[in-house]
């Protein structure tokens, strides 16, 4: 690329960018600038990602041998519980929405900030308080309920720190709600003149849909955890079977949140991919309006399928049938997305920068994980593979192969905008490819082990599953190394990277029209929008063969 060459020539912007507008600690911790809050979130979730990763590294090491060799069963149970709780609520749910969403949403719609900046900061503090509870739980000895907190185990039988763990999630849930309210209001109220709904970038749509899910589902999680806390702490019977309580009711409440929550985790990733693919294929996004409808449909139908986690729970078979059917239905809009991404490559000018590698990886792995979801949605098959490693493989394919890949894609794609620096591209490509292979090595064997009957949350296991576990653990080592790489070279780029131009990828989108990094109020002049997104080429044409700079000059004026 020509960035290095360009870098020297760029004049420094006349006023300090958001990173340099104030350098005291307080100017960060009390900032209401959405971009600074995004950075605060980014730091927080990075810490949590590595904590969750470290916990599961110990698990994978332990599973090398069938009967364990350095952990007690209690420790094992605490490790995977901690892993699940941290990865879901302290990493993946806030990952893309609260970092990139926070950073980009106002930029992409041409606004100076989010609708309620102080609420935004408050929500970060809530996350922090929740995080402190979570870390306290760990330090005090951990929690062993799994991330699902099933009753009556969590309410009456576990003698670990269920209360603080539940409180941690409870608190961080309110951060989710606050963020959701903020983003919805921002999208409705702060769009720049000319930014009509159907001119919004897909990323904005995905954050908008995600916010709706957050706002409407998280309160139910709060209730389910509050009931657990009330029963355990105050002795108020709710789920106690001895007094006629219904443990399955807890599962309904929990999954009413937690299924929609998986779409909180994947919709933003879809948004990211829909930005990256057109940019590096130099093509308009295929079927933009269908992509919008699909995302709304997924967010909506996502509320109707939770019972597919409960096929063997003792739920009525009639209810199971309804949930099974709806789970198949939700795959239809997902299919639309996959096909449209693929079609967007047709007649493009594809370059394989690291964000693009992550994006293509996402499409493949999401499809694989999603298809395995259909196995689980078929009741007789689910009866066999539920609570086995098949399920573990399913969700890691979507959440790690899919969402985490997309997160890294976003990180590389917007890194120049956020920090004003370029990272070393070939290292990034190498890390992306290593991650892809490490990932498949870790989780592909788990599908097989699960089908053969290896239950999840098993500290010890029948010896015949050892082959698969060894493969999986070996893969996890590769994966861990791949995750450490970006940490190193991205840090390096902060100090030694070339200066990034305003629009190093030649992308469309308002965020690329301001400086890198942007000024405190995002735009020096109120942007006006007069066209749909992704105008990489004229209507009806396909990607031109000119260099992106030339194309940009034409399409971006």
């Amino acid at each position: 690329m020509t960035d290095a060459a360009l870098a020297g020539e760029l004049p420094f912007p006349p006023r300090p960018d958001y990173l340099r507008a104030g350098s005291t600690l307080l100017s960060w911790l009390a900032s209401t600038d959405h971009k600074r809050i995004a950075i605060l979130y980014a730091l927080t979730i990075t810490v949590f990602f590595f904590m969750g990763g470290a916990a599961i590294t110990a698990v994978r090491v332990e599973l090398f041998v069938p009967n364990g060799w350095f952990l007690t069963s209690d420790t094992y149970n605490r490790l995977f519980s901690f892993h699940g709780i941290i990865m879901v609520w302290f990493f993946l749910v806030p990952s893309i929405p609260n970092t990139f969403g926070n950073f980009l949403l106002p930029l992409m719609i041409g606004a100076p900030d989010v609708a309620f900046p102080r609420l935004n900061l408050f929500s970060w503090y809530l996350t922090l308080v929740g995080g402190i509870f979570a870390v306290y739980t760990l330090v005090a000895g951990g929690v062993d309920t799994g991330w699902t907190f099933y009753t009556p185990f969590s309410t009456m039988f576990s003698n670990t720190h269920v209360l603080t763990a539940a409180a941690a999630v409870f608190v961080v849930g309110f951060a989710s709600i606050a963020t959701g309210v903020n983003f919805i209001a921002t999208t409705h109220m702060l769009r720049a003149p000319g930014m009509t709904w159907f001119r919004l970038p897909m990323f904005v749509w995905s954050i908008y849909a995600t916010s709706i899910v957050m706002v409407l589902s998280t309160p139910v999680l709060a209730i389910s955890l509050m009931l657990v806390i009330a029963e355990r702490w105050l002795g108020l019977p709710i789920f106690d079977p001895v007094r006629g309580g219904d443990p399955i009711l807890f599962q309904h409440l929990f999954w009413f949140y937690s299924h929609p929550a998986v779409y909180i985790m994947v919709l933003p990733a879809m948004g990211v991919v829909s930005e990256i693919i057109p940019c590096f294929a130099r093509r308009r996004l295929f079927g933009y309006d269908f992509m919008v409808y699909a995302i709304i449909a997924i967010a909506g139908i996502g509320f109707f399928v939770w019972g597919h986690h409960m096929f063997v729970s003792g739920q009525s078979p009639y209810a199971s049938l309804i949930f099974s059917f709806l789970s198949f239905v939700i795959a239809v809009p997902s299919a639309i997305k996959v096909f449209n991404w693929t079609a967007s490559l047709y007649r493009g000018q594809i370059s394989f920068n690291s964000p693009m590698i992550y994006a293509l990886g996402f499409v493949g792995l999401f499809t694989t994980g999603g298809l395995s979801g259909l196995f689980l949605a078929s009741i007789p098959v689910d009866v066999h593979v539920t609570d086995t490693y098949f399920v573990v493989a399913h969700f890691h394919y979507i959440m790690v192969g899919g969402s985490v890949s997309a997160f890294f894609g976003a990180l590389h794609f917007w890194w120049p905008k956020i920090t004003g620096k370029m990272y070393p591209e070939s290292w990034a490509q190498f890390a992306a490819i290593t991650m892809y292979f490490g990932f498949n090595m870790t989780f592909l064997p788990q599908f097989v082990a699960g089908y053969l009957g290896m239950p999840r949350r098993y500290h010890t296991y029948p010896a015949e599953f050892q082959v698969y576990n060894v493969m999986s653990s070996a893969g996890a080592a590769v994966l861990a190394a791949a995750y450490l790489l970006p940490l190193v070279y991205l840090m390096w780029s902060l100090f030694h990277g070339a200066r990034a131009s305003n629009n190093p990828w030649g992308a469309t989108g308002l965020e690329w029209t301001t400086t890198s990094p942007p000024p405190p109020h995002n735009f020096d002049l109120q942007p006006l929008v007069d066209r749909a997104p992704y105008q990489y080429h004229a209507e009806g044409e396909s990607a031109g063969s000119d260099a992106p700079e030339v194309q940009n000059a034409r399409s971006l004026r």
Partner: protein, 214 residues
């Protein structure tokens, strides 16, 4: 003009837009609260479907007078709150009226809490707290009281927040620190207050009315 700028906050340029956003924002939050309380009511519904008699027997033990009086108190507080916020949206000179209505609202809220306190006291004396020594013999009657304490407790927390918000407005308004007329904060507080009231409207028949007919 200077009035409007006094109320204006980042990142807004026009007060009207800011007001709309505030109102929209609080409505989204209220939708969220709807699911919050909806989930509690669902828990109640499922338990009651599974144990109709225990719920009838337990419901009979509640004190319907406290419940009914408290409902009336809250409904009245909604009236004063509605008048306050609608008057504040008018053009005329309404400061006194708005302040008085807000004061009445807060006072009624406190009255509710006092009555509730007496009720709780009575409940404790009647051994209606789940656990050992619980007054009713059916084990599942304890479910009802588990939910009773929880739901009324959560409602009371919401109401306390509401009272604090209203008192804040009264103090700031009386000290002329903020302008109440056209204040987005007043509008938002009022909407929250009414929602807490709506929640109670549902709790009333669920807590105090079961089992009365037999």
């Amino acid at each position: 003009m200077s009035d409007a700028t006094a109320l204006l906050r980042e990142p807004w340029q026009r007060l009207e837009r800011q007001r709309q956003a505030g109102k929209f924002g609080i409505w989204i939050f209220l939708a969220s609260e709807t699911l919050f309380f909806g989930a509690l009511l669902l828990t109640y519904a499922v338990c009651r479907i599974e144990h109709p008699d225990a719920f009838a027997a337990a419901g009979r033990e509640t004190n319907i007078w406290f419940g009914t009086i408290n409902t009336a108190i809250l409904l009245t507080s909604s009236l004063t709150m509605a008048v306050a916020s609608q008057a504040a949206a008018q053009k005329g000179r309404v400061r006194q009226l708005v302040l008085a209505c807000l004061g009445a609202t807060a006072a009624l809220g406190v009255a509710f809490m006092i009555v509730k306190g007496f009720e709780y006291k009575e409940d404790i004396e009647k051994h209606l707290v789940p656990g050992t020594g619980f007054a009713l013999s059916q084990p599942s009657a304890q479910l009802f009281y588990g939910l009773y304490w929880l739901v009324t407790g959560v409602h009371a927390i919401h109401l306390t927040i509401g009272i604090a918000l209203v008192v804040r407005l009264v103090l700031l308004g009386a000290a002329r620190r903020i302008r109440l007329r056209g204040s987005p904060e007043l509008e938002v507080t009022a909407l929250y207050w009414h929602l807490v009231d709506v929640v109670w409207i549902f709790l009333y028949p669920l807590i105090y009315l079961p089992g009365r007919a037999s």
